[in-house]
């Protein structure tokens, strides 16, 4: 192997690694999208804002010198409770009105949280304090930071917990039943309102965790930080097949890797366009997503 090709492979490995770290974050946010969509067929535009709120709660807690392992669950709790509140006050009354009305309402909630954040917390980005000292490890030419390891580890742990929750607990069974058929689940005595609230809570808690991790990764949080990652996580959810939980993880990782390859080998200014280009291509070629099943519309 010539020196040039070996450098190419080291670079490729580095971009893949960065892509997986970035993709884990997209995956965490995408999980919430996909769970909420799976259960009430609503694209929850405000999901990116739950992630932002999680990041801010994490910021305040870490500024108050709480250790990372306590700040992370509390931040998850914070954004989860916000999501339950939003669901109770806004989404539940609008649920019966129709898809487009619900979508517009979700858009409104998203804008409301963004601009409330901007007015209450200030529009300027805030530095995120170092919760842990950052170290960089080298494997040959491959560079991996401690934060990247933490991101990947946390994501794996949370996804394992989610898997357990959905597949092996009673509430998980209720969630699957509600997502399969809401009315039938209701007839079987499942309190679907409670299940939907719980789904919002879990989804937003995962997004909140992603917010804290991203704050540590990029060292900055701001009220508008949820918009673009929120949209990208949605793309990830659609890419994997919206409503399918493993699909969200796959979609997030694919998107993160694709983005980092584009940044590495091409230009970084088109970075945000990649996600949307992927979205449009997948919608045209395979609208059900990579792991989704095709459904036909019936009259």
């Amino acid at each position: 192997m010539t020196e040039q090709t070996s450098y190419f492979f080291w670079d490729l490995g580095q971009y893949l690694l960065n892509g997986i770290a970035q993709g884990s974050i997209y995956a965490l946010v995408a999980l919430g999208y996909t769970m909420v969509y799976g259960i009430i067929r609503l694209i929850n535009f405000a999901h990116g804002e739950f992630y932002m709120v999680g990041a801010f709660v994490g910021l305040f807690l870490i500024q108050a010198h709480l250790p990372f392992l306590i700040a992370l669950p509390l931040a998850m709790l914070g954004s989860g409770l916000l999501a339950v509140m939003v669901e109770r006050l806004v989404y539940r009354p609008i649920r019966k009105a129709g898809k487009i009305q619900a979508l517009i309402t979700a858009l409104g909630v998203s804008l409301l949280l963004q601009y409330l954040g901007q007015n209450l917390l200030g529009a300027d980005p805030r530095p995120f304090p170092d919760a842990l000292e950052n170290k960089t490890y080298m494997f040959g030419e491959l560079m991996i930071s401690k934060i990247q390891i933490i991101i990947i580890l946390t994501t794996v742990i949370l996804m394992g917990a989610l898997r357990y929750l959905v597949m092996h607990t009673k509430i998980g069974k209720a969630m699957r039943a509600t997502s399969y058929n809401l009315e039938a689940a209701e007839l079987m005595g499942i309190d679907t309102n409670k299940v939907i609230s719980f789904t919002f809570f879990v989804g937003a808690a995962l997004a909140g965790a992603a917010g804290v991790l991203v704050g540590m990764y990029y060292n900055t949080v701001e009220p508008m930080m949820g918009l673009i990652p929120g949209l990208k996580a949605f793309v990830a959810a659609v890419l994997g097949g919206i409503g399918v939980i493993p699909g969200a993880v796959l979609g997030g990782l694919v998107l993160g890797v694709a983005e980092n390859l584009v940044i590495g080998f091409w230009v970084s200014t088109y970075r945000d366009a990649i996600a949307f280009a992927i979205l449009i291509i997948i919608l045209l070629i395979r609208p059900a997503g990579l792991l989704g099943r095709n459904t036909r519309e019936k009259v």
């Binding site: 609008i94 487009i100 909630v109 804008l111 601009y115 949209l231 659609v238 366009a273 996600a275 280009a277």
Partner: protein, 296 residues
């Protein structure tokens, strides 16, 4: 302060937004599709019109001829963009279509941000000042007449039938793809027209003036007025153009909370009166003073 210099620019903006809202109303309200990328077409029209004005316009032509050429170029460019976006995306329905158009709107903005010829992130300066109240409102009137005629004819009925029930419309022999695309392209073309008028009125445009937020504000205009109603679109556009000024009169703090107020307005409208002010109805003198045996 003298009234003309205060209200002039506001009225100009109101005219531009009326055209934008009418175009989006055709797509979202009348054809029943759901586009969230209207600002993208607006940007295409604005940048094409501005490029003509700044680089290509022959100086010997009178200003209004140049303005009309710029408008037509804006319409053509945005319509072409509309075909490129509409033909693949209109196969999608409802919320998927919304996200796909949102994606296209963002891609258009990112591309403009990366085009150095038109200033990229610095914005586009030195656009000749050609449009004024007269030309903007002439176009507003032309758009209203065009749309009113369209809706009363065969094509308009076909477009409305798609909103009411797409499957039934297809079963009645209506080429739904064709009419959805037609509505989408006309809406996009109107946004292009608005863009070109806007560029020549403002003389300075910037990629961030065409961000996703503006697509939402235009959407809010037609929701406020009532989706599917042209009168509603006009009222919504005028109201939301003047509201920020009114809020500014209420004081600095109120004006800072403008976007919070908008989003609350959007949520409350959806919860309390999802059909907007006018519903699907048009303003109609006969309805106000019903004569004996007249329209109900």
């Amino acid at each position: 302060m003298d009234l003309v210099s205060y209200f002039g620019p506001l009225l100009q903006n109101a005219g531009v937004f009326i055209i934008l809202a009418l175009g989006l109303n055709l797509i979202n309200g009348i054809a029943g599709q759901f586009s969230l990328g209207h600002a993208g077409f607006w940007a295409v029209g604005a940048y094409v019109g501005a490029s003509y004005g700044a680089f290509f316009a022959p100086a010997f032509l009178p200003d209004f001829v140049n303005l009309l050429i710029s408008n037509v170029l804006g319409i053509i460019a945005a319509s072409i963009a509309g075909v490129l976006v509409g033909v693949p995306c209109l196969r999608l329905r409802g919320d998927y279509l919304a996200i796909a158009t949102l994606g296209f709107g963002e891609i258009i903005r990112i591309i403009i941000n990366n085009l150095d010829v038109v200033g990229g992130p610095r914005g586009f300066t030195n656009i000749p000042h050609w449009s004024n109240l007269f030309w903007i409102y002439l176009w507003v009137v032309l758009c209203i007449i065009m749309l009113a005629n369209l809706l009363r004819g065969t094509h308009g009925r076909a477009i409305i039938s798609i909103r009411e029930d797409e499957i039934a419309a297809a079963a009645m022999g209506i080429n739904t793809t064709k009419y959805k695309t037609l509505a989408f392209v006309i809406g996009a073309g109107m946004a292009g027209l608005a863009g070109s008028l806007f560029a020549h009125a403002q003389q300075f445009i910037h990629p961030s003036s065409f961000s996703f937020m503006w697509s939402v504000i235009i959407l809010l205009m037609i929701i406020l007025g009532g989706m599917g109603s042209m009168t509603g679109a006009i009222v919504g556009a005028v109201f939301l153009t003047f509201l920020p000024e009114f809020l500014r009169l209420c004081g600095e703090t109120v004006s800072e909370w403008r976007m919070v107020i908008y989003s609350l307005l959007l949520i409350l409208l959806m919860l309390l009166r999802p059909q907007g002010i006018f519903g699907k109805h048009e303003f109609n003198l006969k309805r106000l003073w019903p004569s004996k045996g007249g329209a109900k």
